[in-house]
Structures are given as C-alpha cells and as structure tokens.
C-alpha cells in the first residue's frame, strides 16, 4: 500500500514538474531564464581574438553569430571568437548597468534597448563613441535613427533598424467594411473609415496600448515630443495634449478603438486577438513584421502595410520607434576590433542587407532599400506584399525622429503606469490633467538633480 502510494505521489510530482516546465518553455520563448543560451562563432580558429557579446533577443544572438562567421571568412588575419550570451531583457540591462557602474565584468559589445539607452548615457559615459565609423557615411543613414543613441555629438549606438512606424491593415476586414485603404490619407479619414469598420463588421478599427506605444508615435508624428532638442521637458505641451485627446476620442468618443488586450502589443493575449482578426488595423513600427510571421500565422496574405495617416498640421508620415542600439563598452580590451566588427555586422551596406534578410528589420541605411538583394523573395514578402520597401521609400523624407533625454525612462514610466491608465482606462483624468501631473512629477526629479 505504502509503496503504491509513493509511486502515485511521485508520478503526480513528475507530472506537475513537466507540466510547469512545458508552460514556461512555451510562453517565454524569447527570454531564457539563464544565459544558458550561448552561441559561439570562430571557436575552431587558432589565435582568434575573443570577444563577448550580450543581448536579450535570441534572434539577435543568431544574427551576430552568423555575422562573426562571415567576418572570419573575409578577415582571416583578424579572426574573432565571438561568444554571444542571451539573457532575459531586464536581467541583461541590469547586469550591464552594474558591470559598467562597478568597473568590471562588462562584455565587449552589448545590445541596449531604446528605452534603456538613456540610463547608459549618464555620468561619464562608459561606452565607446562610434563617430569614426558613422560620420564618413552619415548621408547614407537615416539620421533620425542614429541621433537617438547620441549624446553631445557622439554616437554611442549602432541601430538595428529604422523602426519606421506604419499601419498594418487587415484587408479582409477593410474589404468587408468596404473601405479602400489607399483612400485613408489623414487621421480624419482614418476616423471616418474606423466608424464604417465598426458599423459594418462590429470589430474595432484599432487598439491602443497602455504603454508608450499608445502615444509616442502619434506625438512624434505631430512634430512634438516629450523633450525638445535642448533637453527641456515638453511632456505637457499643447500638441501632446491634443494628441492624447485625439487618442482618447478614438477610444472613448468615436468608440472605434479599444484598449489592447493584455495592455500592449507584445502579449500572448494580443497575439491571439490579432491572429483571430480581432482588429482592422495596427499602428506599429516595421520591426513588427517578425511578430506577425512568428505569432500570427493565420493572417498570412491578409495584411497590407501603408504609411501612417498624416495630421493636418504636420508633414511627417512616419516615426522611428522602438529599437536597439548596439554599443562597445569602454571595458573592452579590444575596442578597435569590436568597433570594426560592429560596423561589419550592422552598419555596413552588407550588414544592413543581412538585417533585413535575417531579422526582417527595415535597415537604418536607406541606400540599401533599392538594392536588388533586398528584393529577393523571403518569408516577409510571402506574408505581406511585395511593396514593403516602396512604402519606406515613399516616406523617406518625412520620417520624424525622437528626442531622448536622461529622464526619458522617467517619462516612459509615467506614461506606462499613470497617464494611459488614468485617461483611457480609468477615465479619472482628462488628457491635460494627466499630462500635467506626470510632467510635474518628472520636473520635480529633474529640478532636484540640477
């Protein structure tokens, strides 16, 4: 009896362990619990210089390992042995901050996400400027993107993509509503189209994220931002209030938008909702193509990319959003080599073409957009349509940049936890009240520190 009991219990225990393990594997794909996700390149080469790399995205890790293999083929005299370690998002950034703060333990090269980047530009910057690599070819880059990772005229980060914000239309729903997506030129058109969509299909025109994706692209496209070019806080200026009022109207007045299931665009709930044809359109940067092909297989062939509608008082057609700057740390013992490799992997023409081919990212160098290599068939052309880069070329001169300040993380925290929640979800504050209150909070912090 006892033995039987024991075996039943152990079977139960085993089952629960496997069950839980399976659950964690499924939903945390991009975020391994430890850095057991290590990729190396050039291990078999003698005398190769060892370089270490930290990232928070499995796809990036593969990209750099491949780049190192190509580098070693082309530069046998300067071979590298690259170790790419992939950590969960927060853990990687925290570890990197600590390592740079304490003066030891940092890798040679690291990926730093846009919203975290300002943290690394405080005090004596512990990253190496990349000016000598970028400046000679500055004309070929979309400067709006390069500037995001700059401070006092020094470029510290190599961009991974332009991140041009666009609208992804679900043509099935738009057709059902009888709306021609090419007729949507302004945000007013968008609202009118949205009303038709809701009326005919019962589905929302779009969803708004609770986090900064729900406001920043719109604000920047209107020609405003949270800071001006002198670093002064402009969070509660007139244009931003108008923009948030517009977004609030989409949700609470015109009722053509809902709040994104799960609160933002990178949750299981949202992927499921979108995949089921839950909404007619989504405003998000080009990099989201990867999410579509990975998490929303049912929409293949149904999604059409178009530029964002325009504001009547601004000419910007798109905004560069999200993204990762890759930086060489000052703790590296091979700064020059690390920079050369970084240039090879991400900043060169060839590197930019690989960014598209391997990761589906819109390259930050516009001079490759027309390159024949970019037009080769791949999973993205099959999923979407073949005019992806025509859309980009059409908006090229009207892409708004964004201003980062060392207090940007504070503003983003306010947006994520207070502004969007109180205005859109709780409806306890007007856009003006919420923006003013949060601006005061951030101003208090800035004031105290200066």
């Amino acid at each position: 009896m006892n033995k039987k009991m024991l075996s039943v219990i152990s079977a139960l225990l085993l089952f629960s362990v496997f069950f839980l393990a399976a659950c964690s594997g499924g939903s945390e794909d991009s975020a391994p619990a430890n850095a057991d996700d290590v990729k190396t390149a050039g291990e078999d080469i003698e005398d190769a210089t060892e370089l270490s790399f930290w990232t928070f995205a499995g796809t990036h890790a593969t990209f750099y390992a491949n780049a190192a293999d190509r580098w070693n083929k082309e530069n046998p005299d300067k071979a590298i042995k690259l170790t790419v370690e992939n950590y969960p998002f927060d853990q990687m950034h925290n570890n990197l901050l600590m390592a740079l703060q304490s003066g030891s333990g940092a890798p040679d090269i690291a990926d730093i996400e846009l919203a975290k980047f300002p943290n690394f530009l405080k005090g004596d910057v512990q990253l190496e400027p990349l000016n000598d690599l970028i400046e000679p070819e500055l004309d070929s880059f979309m400067e709006e993107r390069i500037n995001i990772y700059a401070k006092d005229g020094k470029y510290y980060g190599a961009p991974t993509h332009l991140g041009a914000s666009v609208v992804y239309y679900n043509t099935e729903i738009m057709d059902e509503a009888g709306v021609d997506i090419d007729s949507i030129k302004t945000w007013d058109d968008y609202v009118e189209a949205g009303k038709k969509v809701v009326e005919k299909t019962g589905k929302p025109m779009t969803t708004i994220a609770d986090n900064w994706y729900g406001i920043w692209p719109y604000v920047a496209q209107k020609g405003s931002d949270f800071f001006n070019e002198n670093g002064k806080l402009t969070l509660d200026n007139e244009k931003n209030i108008e923009t948030l009022e517009f977004i609030n109207d989409l949700v609470n007045k015109h009722k053509i938008a809902e709040l994104a299931p799960g609160g933002q665009y990178h949750t299981e709930e949202f992927y499921g909702f979108m995949n089921d044809g839950g909404q007619a359109s989504l405003v998000i940067p080009m990099y989201y193509m990867k999410d579509f092909t990975t998490y929303m297989p049912d929409l293949e062939g149904k999604i059409q990319i178009r530029p964002m509608p325009k504001w009547s008082d601004s000419d910007y057609q798109s905004v560069t959003m999200g993204g990762t700057g890759t930086a060489v740390t000052s703790q590296s013992e091979h700064v020059e080599l690390a920079k050369e490799f970084l240039y090879f992997a991400k900043l060169s023409k060839e590197g930019n073409i690989q960014l598209w081919k391997e990761l589906g990212f819109d390259p930050p160098r516009w001079d490759v957009w027309e390159d024949p290599a970019m037009r080769e068939d791949n999973v993205y052309y099959q999923y979407f349509h073949d005019d992806i880069f025509d859309v980009l070329l059409s908006v090229k001169d009207n892409v708004a940049g964004i201003q980062l300040s060392e207090y940007t993380p504070d503003v983003l925290t306010e947006i994520d936890s207070n502004i969007m929640h109180k205005v859109l979800r709780e409806k306890s504050q007007t856009p003006e009240e919420a923006l003013k209150q949060s601006a005061d909070t951030v101003r208090q912090k800035i004031g105290d520190q200066n």
């Binding site: 009991m5 225990l13 659950c23 703060q101 299981e268 208090q444 105290d448």
Partner: protein, 302 residues
C-alpha cells in the same frame, strides 16, 4: 613535536571560553560579509548621487525626494498586502494543519506534498500561469468561472482591487504549504495527554482548540507572523511577474518594486538605497512593536 603542537591548538579550541566563538565564527563571518557590510554600504550610498565614474555626496537630497505620491502608493500597497497575507497565511494554515493532523483525513502525505509543491515552483513559471489564468479575455479560466457564476468578466490585471487580489492570491498559493509545515511541526509537540484530559473534562472541539492547541502553537504563530510581516513588506516577485515592472496606475507598485524601478531600472542607485534604508526602518519598527505586543521578549518564567 608536531602532535604536541596540535594538542595545544586543539586544547585552545576546546576550551570553554573559546569554543562558543569557534562555533559562531562562520555565522559572524557570513553575516559581516553578506549582511552588515552591504547594509552599511547602502546607508552610505543613500547620501550619494551615483553615476559611472562620478560619485558625490549630496547630503539628504535623496531622502527629501522620497516622500511623494508614488512612495505613499507603494507603501500603502505593501502594507495592505502585508496585512492580508498575514491574516490569510496564519489562519488558513493553522486550520489545514489541524485537519492534516487529525484522524479525519486520509491520504495525508499526498495533501502535504500537494500543498508544499507551490513553494518549490519557480515564481516566473507561476507568474506566467497566473497571468494566463487571470488574463482579461472572456475565455480566460478565471473569467469563465466567474461568468459561470453569473458575474461580468473582470480585467484582473488592470483594476486596483483585483490587482491586490492577484498578488495576495499568488503569495497565499506559494507559501501556504510552508506555513502548514511549521504548524504541523508545532502540533506534534502538543502532548496527547492534554487532549485526553480535556476529553475527560468534557471539553468540546472549540474549547480544546482554544485552550490546548492555540497556547501551544503561540510561539510558532509569533514566529510565522514575524516572518510574514517582514516578507510582506519585502514583496517584489509577485508584483514583478504579473506586471513586469510597471503596473497600470501603480496598482501593483510595492516598496521593493519602487526601489528596483528607481535604483536599478533607472540607474539612480543613491535614491534606491535611500528607499531601502527607509524600508529597513519600517520593517524594524513594525517587527519590534509586534514582538513587544506579543511579549516575545519576555522570559518564559515571567
């Protein structure tokens, strides 16, 4: 020569005056390195502005910035959470322990393991499952259950009461089994003769519980309550795995969450350290008051 030397050393180590110090030495050492030194360092940091290659003393500036709405919100959240978890994680485990100790329940080992498994589960995994169970979709398990009972679907992760409910629920699920074990251990120490004599005196179930069980469990209850108070104020993971740092309207912001957000995520270590020092003081004061009230400092013969 050598053996004599060893003898001397051994005799020294074995002498009644020295031996206690020898035994506590490893603890003193680890305490100094792992607790005392970081604590002192944190207090020093709380008076500094810390930037890479650029550390300066700024007096009380960090402390003067602490007391604002966000901090009070975090303090309120942590306090409510602490009170709720203490209430739930004391009362229910006592009842469960008594039940598991009684003759009424079969398959005791099974239930004990079942209760204890959550404590062994990774909090990250648990968080993912909780997020899915309590997601806002109408098809999520929690919403289906309350829908079956005739209630409207709830946006669990986006309203204040349900956010707190999620955190407390998660903590209760996680620590229930551990506390049951504590109380089970306590129950084993109660002499069976006392129940027998209570039976002879005609005591009913409640009277036995009130006059025999509870007094014997008192030291355990004090112990478990104290660690629950400390754990309650230190809550971080429950909130972190549900909201990943930023909860809507700060409904899940806790003191340690605020420390993490300011100190580490936003690279403001000095300010983070100041929050840590305040938290240390709060925990210290509340625990001392509780221990004084329950008479834990009195000697047994008083």
């Amino acid at each position: 020569m050598t053996p004599k030397k060893e003898n001397k050393l051994l005799r020294f180590l074995n002498s009644k005056k020295v031996v206690p110090y020898v035994f506590v030495f490893p603890f003193i050492l680890s305490f100094t390195i792992l607790t005392l030194y970081p604590t002192i360092q944190a207090v020093i940091m709380s008076f500094q502005r810390i930037l890479p290659g650029n550390v300066e003393f700024i007096g009380l500036q960090n402390y003067s910035r602490i007391f604002n709405d966000t901090f009070y919100k975090a303090l309120a959240n942590s306090t409510i959470y602490m009170i709720l978890t203490v209430l739930i994680l004391i009362s229910i485990p006592i009842l469960l322990a008594i039940l598991l100790d009684s003759k009424l329940v079969r398959f005791k080992t099974l239930f004990r393991s079942a209760l204890f498994i959550p404590a062994l589960t990774s909090i990250i995994v648990a968080g993912v499952i909780f997020r899915l169970v309590f997601s806002e979709s109408e098809n999520a398990i929690a919403n289906q259950i309350i829908g079956f009972l005739g209630f409207e679907p709830v946006q669990w992760q986006f309203t204040a009461w349900s956010g707190m409910f999620l955190m407390v629920m998660m903590a209760s699920w996680r620590w229930m089994g551990v506390n049951v074990l504590y109380f089970l251990a306590g129950l084993q120490n109660i002499p069976k003769e006392l129940y027998e004599s209570a039976d002879i005196d005609g005591a009913n179930m409640y009277q036995k519980f009130r006059h025999v069980t509870l007094p014997f469990l008192k030291p355990i209850i004090i112990f478990v309550t104290t660690i629950s108070i400390i754990g309650g104020f230190r809550v971080f993971e429950e909130s972190y795995v549900i909201w990943q740092g930023n909860s809507p309207g700060n409904i899940g912001l806790t003191l340690v969450g605020l420390l993490y957000q300011q100190g580490i995520q936003q690279n403001d270590m000095g300010f983070g350290a100041a929050i840590g020092v305040i938290l240390l003081l709060i925990i210290f004061i509340v625990s001392i008051i509780y221990l004084l009230l329950t008479g834990a400092f009195k000697r047994g013969d008083e």
